[in-house]
């Protein structure tokens, strides 16, 4: 009888102090951040609309209609029409797809290169570390937009070159984050164990160390996509990004400003708001992810 109560008590104790898995702990913290979840939800919706827009919309982004140029928003054209009578909403949706593609592909390229360099620099140390971090420091000394403009100056404008330019300026930040994490993890017991078991460096780096720092990488990735969309739009706005005819948000704003004097506010308002909202969602969602991943930052306690 006594053993039984003892057992129950012990069970209760075990249940109380049970370690939650890191993932469920992370989810619990993220759920507490309503605003971040809301932003994440909006981003999901944006993805769906961006790629499914042609199904819903009766207009295509490049259908000219000279009888209906520069029309203000109406029931037919929710966001009005531009100087060629093209439906602004349809162009915005196409622009959403473009922005999301430019943002995510450039950051993915930047992350893959940066993570690889960071892993090697942190793991091997020595001159590899010194050279990599020296270059990262130099790249870091420049504000992103100027670096991107410098790269565009060499490569010339165009969507692909914008992606390359934005990717390059993401590299040093990823390299730094991953190097720092690698330095911390490479002396840890489980990595020692893997090394003792004879795992090659390649396996240790990518299979054992990388998963340990993936959280930080994902958080940074999310925030970076917002910044990249902003940078790409800025490049297009000053005429160094996509060709002016492409329905990219920054390019639409740039074309629309010519009609601002004539009171055609909708040509700049909607693209501007689209950039603002998208970038804001990425930032808020990224903030939430960061706070949920790092218990030290939890200010709600």
């Amino acid at each position: 009888m006594t053993t039984l109560t003892n057992d129950t008590a012990q069970n209760a104790l075990v249940k109380d102090t049970k370690m939650r898995s890191p993932l469920s702990e992370f989810w619990r913290r993220l759920k507490a951040r309503r605003l971040a979840l809301f932003a994440g939800g909006l981003l999901g919706l944006l993805f769906v609309f961006a790629f499914a827009a042609p199904i819903f919309l009766p207009f295509t982004p490049d259908a000219f209609d000279y009888a209906n140029t520069l029309k203000e928003p109406s029931f037919l054209h929710w966001a009005g029409t531009d100087e060629f009578g093209r439906d602004v909403l349809a162009r915005l949706m196409f622009g959403a797809k473009l922005s999301l593609l430019i943002g995510s592909s450039s950051v993915t390229i930047g992350a893959v290169i940066g993570v690889t360099f960071g892993l090697f620099a942190g793991y091997y140390g020595g001159w590899i570390d010194a050279v990599t971090m020296r270059i990262a420091d130099v790249l870091f000394a420049f504000p992103g937009i100027l670096l991107a403009i410098g790269i565009i100056a060499i490569l010339g404008p165009g969507i692909l070159n914008v992606i390359i330019a934005v990717a390059i300026f993401s590299v040093p930040a990823f390299a730094r984050i991953v190097r720092g994490g690698t330095l911390g993890l490479k002396e840890s017991t489980y990595v020692e164990a893997a090394r003792a078991a004879g795992a090659p460096d390649r396996i240790i780096m990518f299979r054992h160390i990388l998963p340990g720092i993936l959280g930080a990488v994902i958080v940074y990735f999310t925030m970076r996509v917002g910044t990249s969309i902003l940078t790409a739009a800025s490049l297009s706005f000053i005429g160094l990004g996509v060709e002016p005819s492409v329905p990219e948000w920054g390019a639409m704003l740039s074309a629309g400003r010519e009609y601002l004097m004539a009171g055609k506010w909708h040509l700049t308002f909607f693209p501007g708001f689209a950039i603002f909202l998208t970038v804001m969602c990425f930032n808020v969602f990224g903030d939430g992810l960061r706070d949920a991943l790092d218990p030290k930052l939890d200010e709600t306690k």
Binding site: D137, A141, G144, I145, L146, R257, V279, N283
Partner: protein, 306 residues
């Protein structure tokens, strides 16, 4: 201190050297033949060759590089390929407006950002904090070219309070510097808030409160002073960001600054101007970083430069 300064200045040299190679190679990386571009569409082969010789583009790459370095150091920046004007004169004329714009933007945004940050930290978790931080994340996410157009639309077109473009009077500075500084104000507010929240937990703050100091003095004198150390570094980083952002904002307000000159030069592939501009911008960042490090020493007596 002097020794430290000299060492830091010397440390800039290898970085400048790397940048000079990058900028120099840029000329050779651009698609197309610069000599042909300068000579013009209708030029004969002989004309193109003459231009090539005149610009010494027929010499070995290494010799060309040394000439480039020599000319840059002696501030002999050549002439614009488009207008024929001296590049030095162009940059000297544009540097003033850009610098003025950046200083005005930095001034208001740092003061405003610090203020909002401290208020948010003091009222952490309350309404004032939430409002401040929502405003901050909006400021960070705001495309400054859109903000510029919105301000222009409202204050210039609707109310007629300000001009829409160019730099003709001091009041023309208001809208561009508001636009340019908005992002920095937001970053400063967020950063100051977390720095102050961290400092407020320290023992000496408890001591200050325990000895009966007014809360206002505890926060603005003791807490802010110590929170300022990381904040100063941030200001330096943000100044670099401002100069980058000014390129875009200058385009919005047709501001006659370095950014407008750079963007036009890129569009016309005027590489003499681009080269000089990229070198100038790089030098600016390195000097700003140095300045921040020095300021850091003044604010934080714990750091001794040896």
């Amino acid at each position: 201190m002097h020794l430290y300064l000299i060492r830091r200045l010397l440390a800039m040299l290898p970085v400048l050297w790397m940048i000079s190679i990058f900028v120099f190679l840029f000329v050779h990386a651009i698609p197309g033949d610069p000599a042909r571009m300068i000579a013009g569409e209708q030029a004969t082969m002989a004309d193109v060759e003459a231009v090539r010789r005149a610009l010494k583009l027929d010499e070995p790459l290494l010799i060309q590089y040394f000439t480039f370095v020599k000319n840059t150091v002696t501030l002999d920046l050549g002439n614009s390929l488009r207008t024929g004007e001296s590049v030095y004169d162009m940059l000297a004329r544009a540097a003033g407006p850009t610098f003025l714009l950046a200083i005005c933007a930095l001034g208001w945004s740092v003061i405003f950002g610090l203020f909002v940050g401290v208020i948010s930290a003091v009222h952490s978790g309350k309404a004032a904090d939430h409002i401040g931080m929502i405003a901050a994340v909006s400021g960070i996410s705001m495309p400054n070219f859109w903000l510029g157009l919105l301000l222009m639309q409202f204050f210039s077109l609707k109310l007629g309070w300000a001009g829409t473009s160019g730099f003709n009077s001091a009041s023309d500075l208001i809208l561009p510097s508001l636009t340019l500084g908005s992002g920095v104000a937001a970053v400063m507010a967020r950063f100051t808030r977390s720095a102050v929240i961290e400092v407020v937990r320290e023992d000496y703050i408890r001591t200050a409160r325990a000895k009966g100091l007014v809360e206002r003095i505890v926060i603005w004198k003791h807490a802010l002073r110590n929170a300022l150390i990381p904040v100063v570094t941030m200001i330096g980083l943000q100044f670099g960001f401002l100069i980058g952002g000014s390129i875009v904002v200058e385009r919005v307000f047709r501001w006659p600054g370095l950014g407008s000159v750079l963007v036009e030069a890129i569009q016309f592939r005027d590489f003499a101007v681009i080269q000089a501009e990229l070198m100038l911008f790089s030098l600016q960042f390195l000097l700003i970083n140095l300045l921040v490090d020095i300021l850091y020493g003044f604010i934080n007596p714990a750091i001794r430069y040896k």
